[in-house]
Symmetry: C2
Subunit: 545 residues, 2 copies
């Protein structure tokens, strides 16, 4: 069996008998950091050509609520006195701080949304957050809570002159129980820091995503982030045991339970998971962390059709069962772009209409490898997959994952990307990509030439969670493309009872489209909740009101 | 190696080399029904000596809210017309139904709580539930939603003359997706029926409990039931994807999402999970069901101290990892009572201060057995456990499980049981049992004689979830025992930030004790929610108001 330089093609039909010798098990402590360097978002890039200017320009229909006060020097003095040290207040109001210092808080990492904020506060404790919010509430000052500012829908940056309340100085791990795996930590702890802390104890944070090097766990919980481990460890609604949050009026909700079971009344913390900071600011979380797997394996497969991909997923669930930790989908278009931009060697010979990345995590490397090999042999025998490789060392492990995780970065190569993060019933999931591609071709917006605005329409995502990332790589942002995409995409999803935001949230980007995924009654009940916690709208307006 | 008649002592030190030959894998489709016959609660027993009479007698401090109307013949006529058929209305108001027919709905299965209900409605659809609640709301008629009536805290039966709205006729499975495992079903589907349906498809309901033969899945979700599978599959807050509920004013909240990810606004359904029917009646649920394991093994071990039990649990998490599906604790007192009442042969020689039952579930029986054997060998070598057996066939599997599941039933043998279902930080968990035992001994209420009111104080439960069942078996209910127990037990738990109700809920039994597990702010916020959904208190009063 000939080996190529980067990845050994262990799954060629002829190679099956030798599979057992070519398996490598990756140290999970190393592999867990795989995505940091390649895909962690940079906080901001100066003079990026992609910056769309102020959000107020791109969303002219959103008007500042004039009931909110303008920030005065007196307000700034109060905050400086409260927080006690200069570094906790970035003050552009009196001109003490330059615009450059404020920009990282005004601008999201994609440089798509930019606010006019002039004051950033960095409280060091829950009590300080409480005093800030109480004061803002009483003085009609609008605020935006901000974690690592890695959100993708403009929910973490101001639009007008809202005060940014940053969790960056609240970054302590408060408690960890080595028997139960319960972690209690400040909202501002960076996800990767939490995960590294847990790795030393033999545990893992039940959430993993590309931005882990920057994002804060409080922001993760506020956004109800999904990410790469949801298939295995479930959603944050199940793994978050407790939340400490400050309500708009300054009330501290201390619900930092360390217990897996506590049936004493309504589970209020659930409201704050995924509320995007609109009804309170999360200041700490308590999380049930699973045992870290000793063995992690990964395979990368080529598949001839979406139907076969569905079969492969069903078989993976049956045959890999409890060790299956990721089943990621990539179409050929996404891989073509990735390789065009990166110039890398492809892991498989030739092109396949679909690819999937399958990861297993378990407690016994020998058992896991045996299961994965037997599964792959079975898929080959049944002709469900056409070709495949399995990582044999850490480099290959990272390389295979980068085929999936590197897509996001490379799509922007030509100028811009229209991004849709959606959930669709699994059987119809990929059809959205095909229908969108056809629609753009029919409209003459994608004709293969260098002049056409659309480079390609690609689909990838977390197949295991029915979570598709539909991305349209473009040479330039173009009104005609936008008009072809919206509301088409949302209507398509709505007809199939899908979700227009699977894991990114609504933010400002999707706020007005909530009706495509939630009926009028439900939206009305959400408004009730918003009104209950924030009757004077002291917060920004991330949800319908 | 000598084998006893029922269970082979495969874990005797001398027997370790032969372990591999003595392993049996149980058919999960069979084993899943293990608890039905032995511990499924009987709905009611006539002339039981344990019946405490009407709840109004045992809780004289609870007064009927006189704002609620008395049920008239006119009301009954409306319901008869609405529901269209006689069998859907059990009418004791006009005397059409005898008391006997109503009693099963008035009385909880423990015969501890008994109401004065005279009207039972059995709607056949969500629309009918909506019309019933709207009418009741407008006419100030109090209602109590009821599922299988297997609750343990008096939350599912009326106290006064509330109308029972039963889910028993809403028992259809609406949808199942064989690729994703998403099940949508009416609230009144019996848990066991749902699980058997899923078993045929290779899936499992992510919840298992003793009452599965009677309880309804809508009631399970309303109570946020925990049970035996929480350790493996997590809480219902994570596995329930959607809820359809009717609010007190008749509004239908249709949030029956079939998607694992849907971040479009507040996750309102979470409020209904564990709300015990106080803010709405769940009429259907959507659940993400895991793959059913092909192999299930069980071991039963004797341990010399609670510290060693903690070590065993930590090792089980590390070594069994992804296949660990139960880690149940039993103290010697609970086992002594079980064997005294049942007269069974004990699975292990002699007595041990503690016992644990460890279950594994996985996709490959050979791998699972190897892991479990290696784990048990390691525990024996490290002297963490003293003795143990492993089930070798289905009979032994059931027999070992009955050591744990049969406790509840046998405790009542002498007359009555004081039951506490609590969560406590794991290191201190068992201390509560010892402190309670000492307290009752010191008070002269447990002296080993036949005259003493207390037979014994036992502890057992779901160690993996820090969920202890503290039970006091008594010869008679005695005010002195009650005074020694309460508020002592609640104060003890409160000091350690535990929960006074881990999985049973508050109901009427623990309503007034909520302050021991939730602070004033949190309770205040819960009242806000109750008031938001049920401002005219058209519902019963299961939560503080």
């Amino acid at each position: 069996m000939a080996c190529r330089s980067r990845l050994a093609p262990v799954l060629k039909r002829v190679a099956i008998p030798s599979l057992r010798r070519s398996v490598a098990v990756i140290n999970p402590l190393v592999s867990a950091t795989r995505c940091i360097s390649s895909t962690a978002p940079r906080r901001f890039r100066k003079s990026s050509p992609r910056c769309a200017g102020f959000t107020t320009d791109s969303y002219p229909e959103i008007k500042r609520d004039e009931r909110f006060a303008q920030i005065t020097n007196e307000h700034v003095d109060y905050f400086k006195q409260l927080l006690g040290k200069d570094s906790a207040v970035i003050d552009g109001v009196t001109g003490a701080a330059a615009e450059d210092e404020i920009e990282p808080f005004n601008l999201d990492w994609m440089r798509k949304y930019k606010g006019h904020c002039k004051l950033v506060l960095k409280p060091g404790s829950t009590e300080e957050v409480s005093k800030i919010l109480k004061y803002c509430n009483e003085n009609m000052l609008a605020v935006v809570p901000q974690g690592g500012n890695t959100g993708l829908v403009g929910g973490s940056v101001p639009v007008f002159d809202e005060i940014v309340v940053s969790t960056s100085r609240m970054n302590q791990i408060r408690f960890f129980d080595e028997v139960t795996g319960v972690l209690v930590a400040d909202a501002g702890v960076v996800l990767e820091v939490a995960d590294q802390f847990l790795a030393e104890k033999g545990y893992i944070f039940p959430l993993d995503l590309g931005a882990k090097g920057s994002c804060h766990i409080g922001g993760n919980v506020s956004t109800n982030a999904g990410g790469l481990r949801l298939l295995r460890y479930g959603s944050l609604h199940g793994t978050v045991l407790g939340v400490e949050a400050v309500l708009p009026d300054g009330t501290i909700l201390n619900d930092l339970s360390r217990l897996r079971k506590n049936n004493t009344g309504y589970d209020l913390k659930q409201l704050f998971i995924g509320a995007e900071g609109t009804i309170g600011m999360i200041t700490a979380v308590s999380v049930h962390c699973p045992q870290r797997s000793k063995a992690v394996n990964v395979a990368f497969l080529g598949v001839e059709s979406y139907d076969k991909l569905l079969q492969a997923f069903r078989e993976a669930k049956t045959q890999l069962g409890e060790i299956l930790s990721a089943f990621e989908l990539m179409d050929s278009q996404s891989q073509n772009i990735y390789h065009k931009v990166k110039g890398n060697t492809r892991p498989l010979d030739g092109e396949h209409p679909f690819y999937c990345l399958i990861e297993t995590s378990g407690s016994n490397s020998e058992h896991d490898s045996a299961k994965l090999e037997s599964f792959l042999e079975d898929l080959m025998t049944k002709e469900i997959v056409s070709d495949g490789v399995m990582a044999q060392d850490e480099t290959q492990f990272k390389s295979l994952w980068s085929q999936r995780e590197g897509i996001t970065e490379t799509l922007g190569h030509w100028g811009g990307v229209y991004k849709y993060d959606v959930s669709i019933p699994i059987k119809e999931m990929y059809q959205l990509v095909e229908d969108t591609r056809k629609r753009l071709e029919d409209a003459g917006l994608k004709d293969g030439t260098e002049e056409s605005p659309v480079v390609d329409v690609v689909g990838y995502g977390h197949m295991g969670d029915c979570n598709l990332h539909l991305n349209i790589a473009v040479r330039r942002y173009d009104k005609k493309v936008e008009e072809a995409l919206e509301p088409f995409v949302y209507e398509w999803i709505s007809k199939r009872n899908g979700s227009i935001s699977a894991e990114h949230g609504l933010g400002i980007a999707k706020k007005k489209y909530i009706g495509y995924s939630r009926n009028e009654t439900t939206v009305g009940l959400m408004k009730q909740i918003k009104n209950l916690y924030d009757p004077v709208s002291a917060y920004s307006f991330l949800l319908p009101h």
